[in-house]
Amino acid sequence: MTFSLSKNRLSGKRGTVQSIWFALFRGAAAINVLALFAVILFMVIQGASAINWAFLTEMPKNSMTEGGILPCIIGTICLALGALAFAFPVGVATAIYLNEYATQGKRVAMIRFAITNLAGVPSVVFGLFGLAFFCTVLKLGVSLLSGALTLGIMSLPVIIGASEEALKTVPNTYREASLGLGASKWQTIFRVVVPSALPGILTGSILALGRAAGETAPIMFTGAVFFTPDLPTSVFDEVMALPYHIYVLATAGTHIGETRPLQYGTALVLIALVLGMNLCAIIVRSRLRNRNRI
Protein backbone atom coordinates (compact mmCIF):
# COMPACT_ATOMS: atom_id res chain seq x y z
CA MET A 1 0.00 0.00 0.00
CA THR A 2 1.29 3.45 -0.80
CA PHE A 3 0.07 6.74 0.51
CA SER A 4 -0.74 9.13 -2.27
CA LEU A 5 0.86 12.24 -0.92
CA SER A 6 -0.34 14.93 -3.24
CA LYS A 7 -3.90 14.40 -2.05
CA ASN A 8 -2.90 14.26 1.62
CA ARG A 9 -0.89 17.41 2.07
CA LEU A 10 -1.00 18.27 5.72
CA SER A 11 -0.54 21.59 7.37
CA GLY A 12 0.75 22.37 10.85
CA LYS A 13 3.29 20.57 12.98
CA ARG A 14 2.22 17.05 12.04
CA GLY A 15 2.57 17.97 8.40
CA THR A 16 6.06 19.37 8.91
CA VAL A 17 7.19 16.29 10.85
CA GLN A 18 5.85 14.09 8.11
CA SER A 19 7.50 15.97 5.28
CA ILE A 20 10.88 15.94 7.07
CA TRP A 21 10.71 12.19 7.68
CA PHE A 22 9.47 11.41 4.19
CA ALA A 23 12.34 13.44 2.78
CA LEU A 24 14.72 11.33 4.89
CA PHE A 25 13.16 8.08 3.63
CA ARG A 26 13.44 9.30 0.07
CA GLY A 27 17.02 10.43 0.66
CA ALA A 28 18.05 7.05 2.05
CA ALA A 29 16.68 5.27 -1.01
CA ALA A 30 18.36 7.79 -3.30
CA ILE A 31 21.75 7.37 -1.60
CA ASN A 32 21.68 3.60 -2.03
CA VAL A 33 20.77 3.80 -5.69
CA LEU A 34 23.36 6.53 -6.22
CA ALA A 35 26.00 4.33 -4.60
CA LEU A 36 25.27 1.61 -7.14
CA PHE A 37 25.59 4.02 -10.03
CA ALA A 38 28.68 5.69 -8.53
CA VAL A 39 30.52 2.36 -8.40
CA ILE A 40 29.46 1.31 -11.88
CA LEU A 41 30.09 4.72 -13.42
CA PHE A 42 33.50 5.02 -11.79
CA MET A 43 34.57 1.62 -13.13
CA VAL A 44 33.22 2.38 -16.59
CA ILE A 45 35.01 5.75 -16.80
CA GLN A 46 38.30 4.40 -15.48
CA GLY A 47 38.15 1.01 -17.16
CA ALA A 48 36.73 1.74 -20.58
CA SER A 49 40.08 2.84 -22.01
CA ALA A 50 41.68 -0.48 -21.04
CA ILE A 51 39.05 -2.57 -22.76
CA ASN A 52 39.72 -3.57 -26.32
CA TRP A 53 39.56 -6.76 -28.32
CA ALA A 54 43.15 -7.73 -27.49
CA PHE A 55 42.52 -7.23 -23.75
CA LEU A 56 39.67 -9.71 -23.85
CA THR A 57 41.27 -12.33 -26.10
CA GLU A 58 45.00 -12.35 -25.34
CA MET A 59 47.12 -14.10 -22.77
CA PRO A 60 48.84 -11.92 -20.16
CA LYS A 61 52.39 -10.82 -20.99
CA ASN A 62 55.46 -9.54 -19.21
CA SER A 63 54.64 -10.90 -15.71
CA MET A 64 51.06 -9.62 -15.85
CA THR A 65 51.87 -5.98 -16.55
CA GLU A 66 50.69 -6.13 -20.16
CA GLY A 67 48.49 -8.18 -22.42
CA GLY A 68 45.01 -9.55 -21.97
CA ILE A 69 42.97 -11.39 -19.39
CA LEU A 70 41.59 -14.24 -21.49
CA PRO A 71 42.60 -16.98 -19.00
CA CYS A 72 40.83 -15.10 -16.18
CA ILE A 73 37.60 -14.80 -18.16
CA ILE A 74 37.66 -18.47 -19.14
CA GLY A 75 38.63 -19.51 -15.61
CA THR A 76 35.78 -17.55 -14.04
CA ILE A 77 33.23 -18.93 -16.51
CA CYS A 78 34.45 -22.50 -15.92
CA LEU A 79 34.36 -22.08 -12.13
CA ALA A 80 30.85 -20.62 -12.16
CA LEU A 81 29.46 -23.23 -14.57
CA GLY A 82 31.16 -26.01 -12.60
CA ALA A 83 29.58 -24.68 -9.40
CA LEU A 84 26.19 -24.64 -11.10
CA ALA A 85 26.66 -28.18 -12.44
CA PHE A 86 26.84 -29.35 -8.82
CA ALA A 87 24.41 -26.94 -7.16
CA PHE A 88 21.62 -26.94 -9.77
CA PRO A 89 20.62 -30.65 -9.70
CA VAL A 90 21.15 -30.95 -5.94
CA GLY A 91 19.39 -27.68 -5.19
CA VAL A 92 16.38 -28.29 -7.41
CA ALA A 93 15.96 -31.87 -6.13
CA THR A 94 16.12 -30.64 -2.54
CA ALA A 95 13.56 -27.93 -3.27
CA ILE A 96 11.23 -30.48 -4.92
CA TYR A 97 11.52 -32.79 -1.93
CA LEU A 98 10.90 -30.02 0.58
CA ASN A 99 8.01 -28.47 -1.32
CA GLU A 100 6.25 -31.46 -2.89
CA TYR A 101 6.92 -34.50 -0.73
CA ALA A 102 7.64 -33.51 2.83
CA THR A 103 6.62 -30.18 4.21
CA GLN A 104 6.47 -31.01 7.90
CA GLY A 105 8.25 -33.15 10.44
CA LYS A 106 11.55 -33.47 12.21
CA ARG A 107 13.57 -34.56 9.18
CA VAL A 108 12.42 -31.56 7.16
CA ALA A 109 13.08 -29.21 10.05
CA MET A 110 16.64 -30.55 10.19
CA ILE A 111 17.17 -30.10 6.46
CA ARG A 112 15.84 -26.54 6.67
CA PHE A 113 18.03 -25.79 9.67
CA ALA A 114 21.07 -27.02 7.74
CA ILE A 115 20.18 -24.89 4.71
CA THR A 116 19.65 -21.74 6.80
CA ASN A 117 22.98 -22.21 8.52
CA LEU A 118 24.74 -23.05 5.28
CA ALA A 119 23.47 -19.74 3.89
CA GLY A 120 25.07 -17.93 6.82
CA VAL A 121 28.52 -19.52 6.62
CA PRO A 122 31.08 -16.79 5.80
CA SER A 123 32.62 -17.16 2.35
CA VAL A 124 36.14 -17.46 3.73
CA VAL A 125 35.03 -20.41 5.88
CA PHE A 126 33.85 -22.15 2.71
CA GLY A 127 37.36 -21.54 1.42
CA LEU A 128 38.88 -23.15 4.52
CA PHE A 129 36.55 -26.13 4.18
CA GLY A 130 37.37 -26.52 0.49
CA LEU A 131 41.07 -26.47 1.31
CA ALA A 132 40.74 -29.06 4.08
CA PHE A 133 38.24 -31.36 2.35
CA PHE A 134 38.38 -31.11 -1.46
CA CYS A 135 42.04 -30.18 -1.84
CA THR A 136 43.53 -32.24 0.97
CA VAL A 137 41.27 -35.18 1.90
CA LEU A 138 39.88 -35.87 -1.58
CA LYS A 139 43.35 -35.11 -2.99
CA LEU A 140 42.02 -32.85 -5.73
CA GLY A 141 44.69 -30.25 -5.02
CA VAL A 142 44.31 -26.61 -6.01
CA SER A 143 42.20 -27.19 -9.11
CA LEU A 144 39.23 -26.07 -11.12
CA LEU A 145 37.26 -28.97 -9.62
CA SER A 146 38.01 -28.03 -5.99
CA GLY A 147 37.17 -24.40 -6.64
CA ALA A 148 33.96 -25.21 -8.49
CA LEU A 149 32.79 -27.62 -5.77
CA THR A 150 33.53 -25.05 -3.07
CA LEU A 151 31.55 -22.41 -4.97
CA GLY A 152 28.86 -25.04 -5.61
CA ILE A 153 28.18 -25.79 -1.96
CA MET A 154 28.15 -22.06 -1.34
CA SER A 155 25.47 -21.49 -4.00
CA LEU A 156 23.37 -24.43 -2.82
CA PRO A 157 21.19 -22.46 -0.35
CA VAL A 158 20.56 -19.75 -2.95
CA ILE A 159 19.34 -22.25 -5.54
CA ILE A 160 17.24 -24.17 -3.03
CA GLY A 161 15.61 -20.94 -1.87
CA ALA A 162 14.88 -19.70 -5.39
CA SER A 163 13.55 -23.06 -6.56
CA GLU A 164 11.27 -23.36 -3.55
CA GLU A 165 9.89 -19.90 -4.21
CA ALA A 166 9.23 -20.91 -7.83
CA LEU A 167 7.56 -24.18 -6.85
CA LYS A 168 5.36 -22.35 -4.34
CA THR A 169 3.97 -20.11 -7.07
CA VAL A 170 2.60 -23.09 -9.02
CA PRO A 171 -1.13 -23.10 -8.17
CA ASN A 172 -2.35 -26.16 -6.29
CA THR A 173 -5.12 -26.56 -8.88
CA TYR A 174 -2.44 -27.67 -11.38
CA ARG A 175 -1.42 -30.51 -9.07
CA GLU A 176 -5.01 -31.44 -8.31
CA ALA A 177 -5.94 -31.47 -12.00
CA SER A 178 -3.00 -33.67 -12.89
CA LEU A 179 -3.62 -36.09 -10.03
CA GLY A 180 -7.32 -36.07 -10.88
CA LEU A 181 -6.54 -37.16 -14.44
CA GLY A 182 -4.83 -40.22 -13.01
CA ALA A 183 -1.22 -39.13 -13.15
CA SER A 184 1.00 -40.39 -10.38
CA LYS A 185 2.73 -38.02 -7.98
CA TRP A 186 6.06 -38.24 -9.79
CA GLN A 187 4.39 -37.71 -13.17
CA THR A 188 2.60 -34.68 -11.75
CA ILE A 189 5.83 -33.20 -10.44
CA PHE A 190 7.92 -34.00 -13.49
CA ARG A 191 5.42 -33.04 -16.21
CA VAL A 192 3.26 -30.37 -14.58
CA VAL A 193 4.81 -28.73 -11.53
CA VAL A 194 8.46 -28.48 -12.55
CA PRO A 195 7.77 -27.24 -16.11
CA SER A 196 5.55 -24.44 -14.80
CA ALA A 197 8.12 -23.51 -12.15
CA LEU A 198 11.06 -23.81 -14.53
CA PRO A 199 11.39 -20.13 -15.53
CA GLY A 200 11.52 -19.14 -11.86
CA ILE A 201 14.03 -21.87 -11.10
CA LEU A 202 16.20 -20.74 -14.01
CA THR A 203 16.03 -17.11 -12.87
CA GLY A 204 17.28 -18.09 -9.44
CA SER A 205 20.01 -20.19 -10.95
CA ILE A 206 21.25 -17.36 -13.15
CA LEU A 207 21.45 -15.17 -10.04
CA ALA A 208 23.41 -17.89 -8.25
CA LEU A 209 25.71 -18.20 -11.27
CA GLY A 210 26.42 -14.47 -11.13
CA ARG A 211 27.14 -14.60 -7.43
CA ALA A 212 29.49 -17.56 -7.87
CA ALA A 213 31.35 -15.75 -10.66
CA GLY A 214 32.04 -12.77 -8.41
CA GLU A 215 33.19 -14.60 -5.28
CA THR A 216 36.83 -14.43 -4.32
CA ALA A 217 37.37 -15.80 -0.83
CA PRO A 218 36.14 -19.38 -1.50
CA ILE A 219 38.46 -19.87 -4.47
CA MET A 220 41.54 -18.17 -3.02
CA PHE A 221 42.97 -21.36 -1.53
CA THR A 222 41.03 -23.93 -3.54
CA GLY A 223 41.07 -23.14 -7.24
CA ALA A 224 42.51 -19.82 -8.27
CA VAL A 225 46.13 -18.94 -8.79
CA PHE A 226 47.67 -15.64 -9.81
CA PHE A 227 49.32 -16.95 -12.93
CA THR A 228 49.24 -20.01 -15.15
CA PRO A 229 50.98 -20.03 -18.51
CA ASP A 230 48.24 -22.08 -20.18
CA LEU A 231 44.50 -22.20 -20.41
CA PRO A 232 42.95 -24.99 -18.33
CA THR A 233 42.77 -28.28 -20.21
CA SER A 234 41.33 -30.52 -17.50
CA VAL A 235 39.33 -30.12 -14.32
CA PHE A 236 42.47 -30.82 -12.30
CA ASP A 237 44.28 -27.74 -13.60
CA GLU A 238 44.73 -24.56 -11.60
CA VAL A 239 42.87 -21.64 -13.11
CA MET A 240 43.09 -17.87 -13.11
CA ALA A 241 39.92 -16.01 -12.15
CA LEU A 242 38.76 -12.41 -12.59
CA PRO A 243 38.00 -11.60 -8.92
CA TYR A 244 41.25 -13.08 -7.66
CA HIS A 245 43.15 -11.33 -10.45
CA ILE A 246 41.76 -7.94 -9.36
CA TYR A 247 42.64 -8.64 -5.75
CA VAL A 248 46.23 -9.66 -6.44
CA LEU A 249 46.92 -6.90 -8.97
CA ALA A 250 45.51 -4.28 -6.61
CA THR A 251 47.19 -5.39 -3.39
CA ALA A 252 50.31 -7.43 -4.04
CA GLY A 253 53.33 -7.21 -6.24
CA THR A 254 55.64 -4.40 -7.17
CA HIS A 255 53.67 -2.95 -10.07
CA ILE A 256 50.48 -1.81 -8.33
CA GLY A 257 50.67 1.67 -9.85
CA GLU A 258 51.65 0.54 -13.33
CA THR A 259 48.91 -2.05 -13.63
CA ARG A 260 46.11 0.31 -12.52
CA PRO A 261 44.54 0.41 -16.02
CA LEU A 262 44.57 -3.42 -16.09
CA GLN A 263 42.90 -3.50 -12.68
CA TYR A 264 40.15 -1.13 -13.78
CA GLY A 265 39.69 -3.08 -16.98
CA THR A 266 39.44 -6.41 -15.17
CA ALA A 267 36.99 -4.97 -12.64
CA LEU A 268 34.86 -3.60 -15.46
CA VAL A 269 34.80 -6.98 -17.23
CA LEU A 270 33.77 -8.69 -13.98
CA ILE A 271 31.03 -6.12 -13.33
CA ALA A 272 29.76 -6.48 -16.90
CA LEU A 273 29.70 -10.27 -16.57
CA VAL A 274 27.90 -10.33 -13.21
CA LEU A 275 25.47 -7.47 -13.89
CA GLY A 276 24.72 -8.89 -17.34
CA MET A 277 23.62 -12.15 -15.78
CA ASN A 278 21.57 -10.33 -13.15
CA LEU A 279 19.85 -8.11 -15.70
CA CYS A 280 18.92 -11.24 -17.68
CA ALA A 281 17.43 -12.77 -14.56
CA ILE A 282 15.54 -9.60 -13.62
CA ILE A 283 14.11 -9.23 -17.13
CA VAL A 284 13.03 -12.88 -17.25
CA ARG A 285 11.38 -12.49 -13.88
CA SER A 286 9.50 -9.29 -14.63
CA ARG A 287 8.18 -10.83 -17.86
CA LEU A 288 7.02 -13.80 -15.84
CA ARG A 289 5.31 -11.60 -13.30
CA ASN A 290 3.43 -9.80 -16.05
CA ARG A 291 2.43 -13.10 -17.65
CA ASN A 292 1.16 -14.48 -14.36
CA ARG A 293 -0.85 -11.32 -13.72
CA ILE A 294 -2.92 -11.99 -16.83
Partner: protein, 322 residues
Protein backbone atom coordinates in the same frame (compact mmCIF):
# COMPACT_ATOMS: atom_id res chain seq x y z
CA UNK B 1 -20.01 -24.79 -23.91
CA UNK B 2 -23.08 -26.94 -24.58
CA UNK B 3 -23.56 -30.39 -23.21
CA UNK B 4 -23.32 -32.01 -26.62
CA UNK B 5 -20.00 -30.37 -27.42
CA UNK B 6 -18.75 -31.40 -24.04
CA UNK B 7 -19.47 -35.07 -24.59
CA UNK B 8 -18.04 -34.89 -28.10
CA UNK B 9 -14.86 -33.36 -26.78
CA UNK B 10 -14.55 -35.98 -24.15
CA UNK B 11 -14.66 -38.84 -26.60
CA UNK B 12 -11.44 -37.95 -28.33
CA UNK B 13 -9.11 -37.91 -25.32
CA UNK B 14 -10.67 -41.13 -24.07
CA UNK B 15 -9.86 -42.87 -27.32
CA UNK B 16 -6.34 -41.52 -27.38
CA UNK B 17 -5.67 -42.38 -23.79
CA UNK B 18 -6.67 -45.96 -24.45
CA UNK B 19 -4.14 -45.94 -27.26
CA UNK B 20 -1.49 -44.51 -24.91
CA UNK B 21 -2.15 -47.21 -22.40
CA UNK B 22 -1.28 -49.81 -24.98
CA UNK B 23 1.85 -47.98 -26.07
CA UNK B 24 3.30 -47.02 -22.73
CA UNK B 25 2.13 -49.21 -19.90
CA UNK B 26 4.49 -47.61 -17.40
CA UNK B 27 2.52 -44.37 -17.64
CA UNK B 28 -0.30 -45.62 -15.44
CA UNK B 29 -0.50 -46.31 -11.77
CA UNK B 30 -1.80 -49.85 -12.28
CA UNK B 31 1.52 -51.64 -12.63
CA UNK B 32 3.68 -52.63 -9.70
CA UNK B 33 6.63 -51.09 -11.57
CA UNK B 34 5.19 -47.61 -11.20
CA UNK B 35 4.69 -47.91 -7.48
CA UNK B 36 8.33 -48.92 -7.25
CA UNK B 37 9.26 -45.98 -9.47
CA UNK B 38 7.39 -43.62 -7.16
CA UNK B 39 9.25 -45.02 -4.19
CA UNK B 40 12.61 -44.71 -5.97
CA UNK B 41 11.83 -41.10 -6.96
CA UNK B 42 10.87 -40.08 -3.44
CA UNK B 43 13.77 -41.77 -1.75
CA UNK B 44 16.37 -40.45 -4.16
CA UNK B 45 15.01 -36.93 -3.66
CA UNK B 46 15.24 -37.47 0.09
CA UNK B 47 18.83 -38.68 -0.19
CA UNK B 48 19.80 -35.66 -2.30
CA UNK B 49 18.09 -33.37 0.24
CA UNK B 50 20.26 -34.82 2.96
CA UNK B 51 23.36 -33.50 1.13
CA UNK B 52 22.77 -30.09 2.76
CA UNK B 53 22.96 -31.65 6.21
CA UNK B 54 26.02 -33.70 5.23
CA UNK B 55 27.81 -30.64 3.84
CA UNK B 56 27.12 -28.57 6.96
CA UNK B 57 28.31 -31.50 9.08
CA UNK B 58 31.47 -31.85 7.01
CA UNK B 59 32.19 -28.12 7.30
CA UNK B 60 31.93 -28.34 11.09
CA UNK B 61 33.96 -31.55 11.20
CA UNK B 62 36.82 -30.26 9.09
CA UNK B 63 36.95 -26.87 10.82
CA UNK B 64 37.24 -28.68 14.15
CA UNK B 65 39.69 -31.26 12.82
CA UNK B 66 42.07 -28.64 11.47
CA UNK B 67 41.36 -26.01 14.11
CA UNK B 68 41.42 -27.90 17.40
CA UNK B 69 45.15 -28.87 17.20
CA UNK B 70 45.75 -25.16 17.86
CA UNK B 71 44.91 -25.70 21.48
CA UNK B 72 47.78 -28.13 21.90
CA UNK B 73 50.25 -25.23 21.69
CA UNK B 74 48.15 -22.35 22.99
CA UNK B 75 45.39 -22.41 25.60
CA UNK B 76 41.84 -21.44 24.64
CA UNK B 77 42.04 -18.48 27.00
CA UNK B 78 45.36 -17.25 25.61
CA UNK B 79 44.05 -17.69 22.07
CA UNK B 80 40.86 -15.74 22.54
CA UNK B 81 42.08 -13.13 25.02
CA UNK B 82 45.66 -12.75 23.75
CA UNK B 83 46.45 -9.27 22.48
CA UNK B 84 49.33 -10.22 20.23
CA UNK B 85 48.97 -11.80 16.81
CA UNK B 86 52.47 -12.44 15.46
CA UNK B 87 52.05 -15.87 13.90
CA UNK B 88 55.30 -15.82 11.94
CA UNK B 89 57.61 -14.50 14.69
CA UNK B 90 59.99 -16.71 16.65
CA UNK B 91 58.43 -17.59 19.09
CA UNK B 92 55.04 -16.88 17.51
CA UNK B 93 52.13 -15.21 19.32
CA UNK B 94 48.66 -16.55 18.63
CA UNK B 95 46.20 -14.20 20.34
CA UNK B 96 43.20 -13.19 18.28
CA UNK B 97 41.59 -10.63 20.58
CA UNK B 98 42.68 -7.83 18.23
CA UNK B 99 41.16 -9.69 15.28
CA UNK B 100 37.91 -10.32 17.18
CA UNK B 101 37.73 -6.67 18.26
CA UNK B 102 38.46 -5.66 14.67
CA UNK B 103 35.56 -7.77 13.41
CA UNK B 104 33.16 -6.57 16.11
CA UNK B 105 34.03 -2.89 15.70
CA UNK B 106 33.76 -2.92 11.92
CA UNK B 107 30.44 -4.82 12.11
CA UNK B 108 28.97 -2.44 14.70
CA UNK B 109 30.04 0.74 12.94
CA UNK B 110 28.89 -0.52 9.55
CA UNK B 111 25.52 -1.40 11.14
CA UNK B 112 25.22 2.15 12.47
CA UNK B 113 25.27 3.22 8.83
CA UNK B 114 23.48 0.29 7.21
CA UNK B 115 20.56 -0.17 9.62
CA UNK B 116 18.99 3.30 9.36
CA UNK B 117 19.75 3.51 5.68
CA UNK B 118 18.46 0.00 4.85
CA UNK B 119 15.32 0.22 6.96
CA UNK B 120 14.46 3.70 5.73
CA UNK B 121 14.89 2.60 2.13
CA UNK B 122 12.62 -0.36 2.86
CA UNK B 123 9.98 1.97 4.33
CA UNK B 124 10.23 4.20 1.29
CA UNK B 125 9.89 1.26 -1.11
CA UNK B 126 6.98 -0.40 0.64
CA UNK B 127 5.00 2.55 2.04
CA UNK B 128 5.74 5.72 0.13
CA UNK B 129 7.15 5.13 -3.34
CA UNK B 130 4.64 5.08 -6.20
CA UNK B 131 4.46 1.51 -7.61
CA UNK B 132 6.25 2.54 -10.83
CA UNK B 133 9.13 4.05 -8.84
CA UNK B 134 9.38 0.99 -6.60
CA UNK B 135 9.54 -1.22 -9.66
CA UNK B 136 12.63 0.67 -10.85
CA UNK B 137 14.31 1.03 -7.45
CA UNK B 138 13.92 -2.57 -6.29
CA UNK B 139 16.05 -4.06 -9.08
CA UNK B 140 18.63 -1.35 -8.40
CA UNK B 141 18.90 -2.48 -4.77
CA UNK B 142 19.18 -6.09 -5.96
CA UNK B 143 21.94 -5.11 -8.37
CA UNK B 144 23.74 -3.43 -5.46
CA UNK B 145 23.59 -6.81 -3.70
CA UNK B 146 25.04 -8.54 -6.73
CA UNK B 147 28.12 -6.33 -7.07
CA UNK B 148 31.05 -8.65 -6.35
CA UNK B 149 32.65 -7.94 -2.98
CA UNK B 150 36.07 -7.65 -4.58
CA UNK B 151 34.77 -4.82 -6.76
CA UNK B 152 33.39 -2.96 -3.73
CA UNK B 153 36.70 -3.52 -1.96
CA UNK B 154 38.62 -2.27 -4.99
CA UNK B 155 36.36 0.79 -5.25
CA UNK B 156 36.98 1.48 -1.56
CA UNK B 157 40.71 1.21 -2.10
CA UNK B 158 41.09 3.40 -5.15
CA UNK B 159 38.23 5.88 -4.76
CA UNK B 160 36.95 6.16 -1.17
CA UNK B 161 40.18 5.72 0.80
CA UNK B 162 42.10 8.59 -0.90
CA UNK B 163 39.01 10.77 -0.44
CA UNK B 164 38.86 9.98 3.29
CA UNK B 165 42.57 10.64 3.62
CA UNK B 166 42.14 14.10 2.12
CA UNK B 167 38.93 15.02 3.99
CA UNK B 168 40.08 13.99 7.46
CA UNK B 169 43.79 14.63 6.92
CA UNK B 170 44.85 11.22 8.23
CA UNK B 171 47.96 9.15 7.39
CA UNK B 172 46.01 6.42 5.61
CA UNK B 173 42.52 6.10 4.18
CA UNK B 174 42.57 2.33 4.71
CA UNK B 175 41.03 2.17 8.17
CA UNK B 176 38.09 1.13 10.34
CA UNK B 177 35.89 3.98 9.13
CA UNK B 178 36.35 3.45 5.38
CA UNK B 179 35.94 -0.31 5.80
CA UNK B 180 32.70 0.26 7.76
CA UNK B 181 31.28 2.46 5.00
CA UNK B 182 32.08 -0.05 2.27
CA UNK B 183 30.79 -2.93 4.41
CA UNK B 184 27.56 -1.02 5.03
CA UNK B 185 26.85 -1.05 1.31
CA UNK B 186 27.25 -4.82 1.32
CA UNK B 187 24.72 -5.35 4.10
CA UNK B 188 22.20 -2.65 3.07
CA UNK B 189 20.59 -4.83 0.34
CA UNK B 190 20.10 -7.71 2.80
CA UNK B 191 18.58 -5.42 5.45
CA UNK B 192 16.47 -3.57 2.90
CA UNK B 193 14.92 -6.53 1.06
CA UNK B 194 14.04 -8.54 4.19
CA UNK B 195 12.64 -5.45 5.97
CA UNK B 196 10.58 -4.63 2.92
CA UNK B 197 9.09 -8.13 2.87
CA UNK B 198 8.23 -7.75 6.55
CA UNK B 199 6.59 -4.36 5.98
CA UNK B 200 4.61 -5.63 3.01
CA UNK B 201 3.27 -8.56 5.01
CA UNK B 202 1.56 -6.16 7.45
CA UNK B 203 -2.14 -6.33 6.53
CA UNK B 204 -3.50 -3.29 4.70
CA UNK B 205 -6.39 -3.18 7.18
CA UNK B 206 -3.95 -2.08 9.94
CA UNK B 207 -3.00 0.95 7.88
CA UNK B 208 -6.58 1.67 6.89
CA UNK B 209 -7.72 1.51 10.50
CA UNK B 210 -4.96 3.89 11.55
CA UNK B 211 -5.72 6.35 8.75
CA UNK B 212 -9.42 6.19 9.50
CA UNK B 213 -8.70 7.20 13.10
CA UNK B 214 -7.10 10.37 11.78
CA UNK B 215 -3.41 9.46 11.89
CA UNK B 216 -1.18 10.99 9.26
CA UNK B 217 0.66 8.65 6.85
CA UNK B 218 3.87 9.17 8.84
CA UNK B 219 2.13 8.44 12.14
CA UNK B 220 0.68 5.31 10.57
CA UNK B 221 4.14 4.20 9.47
CA UNK B 222 5.90 4.98 12.73
CA UNK B 223 3.21 3.82 15.17
CA UNK B 224 1.43 1.01 13.32
CA UNK B 225 3.25 -0.44 10.33
CA UNK B 226 6.81 -0.47 11.62
CA UNK B 227 5.92 -1.81 15.08
CA UNK B 228 3.84 -4.56 13.46
CA UNK B 229 6.78 -5.54 11.25
CA UNK B 230 9.39 -5.07 13.99
CA UNK B 231 10.34 -8.73 14.40
CA UNK B 232 10.87 -9.07 10.68
CA UNK B 233 12.96 -5.93 10.64
CA UNK B 234 14.98 -7.31 13.56
CA UNK B 235 15.63 -10.49 11.58
CA UNK B 236 16.76 -8.36 8.66
CA UNK B 237 19.17 -6.38 10.83
CA UNK B 238 20.70 -9.50 12.39
CA UNK B 239 21.14 -11.18 9.00
CA UNK B 240 22.71 -7.99 7.65
CA UNK B 241 25.17 -7.96 10.56
CA UNK B 242 25.88 -11.63 10.01
CA UNK B 243 26.73 -10.86 6.41
CA UNK B 244 28.96 -7.98 7.49
CA UNK B 245 30.99 -9.95 10.03
CA UNK B 246 31.65 -12.76 7.54
CA UNK B 247 32.45 -10.54 4.58
CA UNK B 248 36.04 -11.04 3.53
CA UNK B 249 37.22 -9.12 0.49
CA UNK B 250 36.10 -5.66 1.62
CA UNK B 251 37.87 -5.83 4.97
CA UNK B 252 40.86 -7.51 3.37
CA UNK B 253 41.37 -4.66 0.92
CA UNK B 254 40.12 -1.60 2.80
CA UNK B 255 40.58 -2.14 6.55
CA UNK B 256 44.33 -1.50 6.64
CA UNK B 257 45.43 -4.85 8.04
CA UNK B 258 47.03 -3.91 11.36
CA UNK B 259 46.32 -6.46 14.09
CA UNK B 260 45.69 -3.95 16.86
CA UNK B 261 42.65 -3.28 19.03
CA UNK B 262 41.18 -0.15 17.44
CA UNK B 263 41.34 2.93 19.66
CA UNK B 264 39.90 5.43 17.22
CA UNK B 265 37.67 5.51 14.18
CA UNK B 266 40.65 6.02 11.91
CA UNK B 267 42.83 3.17 13.16
CA UNK B 268 43.66 0.44 10.67
CA UNK B 269 42.23 -2.92 11.74
CA UNK B 270 42.56 -6.60 10.80
CA UNK B 271 39.22 -8.42 11.17
CA UNK B 272 39.18 -12.24 11.36
CA UNK B 273 38.23 -12.97 7.71
CA UNK B 274 40.97 -10.64 6.44
CA UNK B 275 43.55 -12.40 8.57
CA UNK B 276 42.49 -15.86 7.35
CA UNK B 277 42.37 -14.84 3.70
CA UNK B 278 45.68 -13.03 3.61
CA UNK B 279 47.73 -15.46 5.68
CA UNK B 280 46.45 -18.86 4.57
CA UNK B 281 48.46 -18.71 1.36
CA UNK B 282 51.75 -18.42 3.22
CA UNK B 283 51.03 -20.58 6.27
CA UNK B 284 52.99 -23.86 6.12
CA UNK B 285 50.61 -26.78 5.53
CA UNK B 286 49.39 -28.23 8.86
CA UNK B 287 51.83 -26.06 10.77
CA UNK B 288 50.90 -24.10 13.91
CA UNK B 289 49.93 -21.03 11.91
CA UNK B 290 47.68 -23.11 9.61
CA UNK B 291 45.85 -24.61 12.60
CA UNK B 292 45.55 -21.22 14.28
CA UNK B 293 43.89 -19.81 11.15
CA UNK B 294 41.37 -22.66 11.16
CA UNK B 295 40.71 -21.94 14.84
CA UNK B 296 40.09 -18.31 13.84
CA UNK B 297 37.67 -19.70 11.24
CA UNK B 298 35.85 -21.61 13.99
CA UNK B 299 35.55 -18.41 16.05
CA UNK B 300 34.16 -16.56 13.03
CA UNK B 301 31.74 -19.40 12.30
CA UNK B 302 30.51 -19.36 15.91
CA UNK B 303 29.75 -15.65 15.59
CA UNK B 304 27.67 -16.19 12.44
CA UNK B 305 25.84 -19.17 13.98
CA UNK B 306 25.00 -16.97 16.98
CA UNK B 307 23.60 -14.34 14.61
CA UNK B 308 21.61 -17.00 12.74
CA UNK B 309 20.06 -18.41 15.91
CA UNK B 310 19.10 -14.89 17.01
CA UNK B 311 17.60 -14.23 13.56
CA UNK B 312 15.66 -17.50 13.61
CA UNK B 313 14.16 -16.83 17.02
CA UNK B 314 13.24 -13.29 15.93
CA UNK B 315 11.52 -14.57 12.79
CA UNK B 316 9.65 -17.22 14.77
CA UNK B 317 8.15 -14.47 16.90
CA UNK B 318 7.38 -12.60 13.71
CA UNK B 319 5.46 -15.56 12.26
CA UNK B 320 3.32 -15.91 15.38
CA UNK B 321 2.47 -12.23 15.24
CA UNK B 322 1.68 -12.11 11.53
Amino acid sequence: MTYREHTKGEMIPEGSSRGDRGAAPTDTLTGRGTALGEWVAESSLLIISLISIVVLGLILLFLLMEGLPTFSFVSVKAFILGHLWYPTDEPPDFGILALIMGSISVTLISSLIAVPSGVMTAIYLSEIAPPKMAEILKPAIELLASLPSVVIGFFGMVAVAPLMQRIFDIPTGLNLFTASIMLAFMSIPTICTISEDALRSVPVTYREASMALGATPFETISKVTVPAALSGITTAIILGMSRAIGETMVVLMVAGGAAIIPGSLFDPIRPMPASIASEMGEAPFRGDHYHALFATGITLFLFTILFNILAMSASRRFRLKG
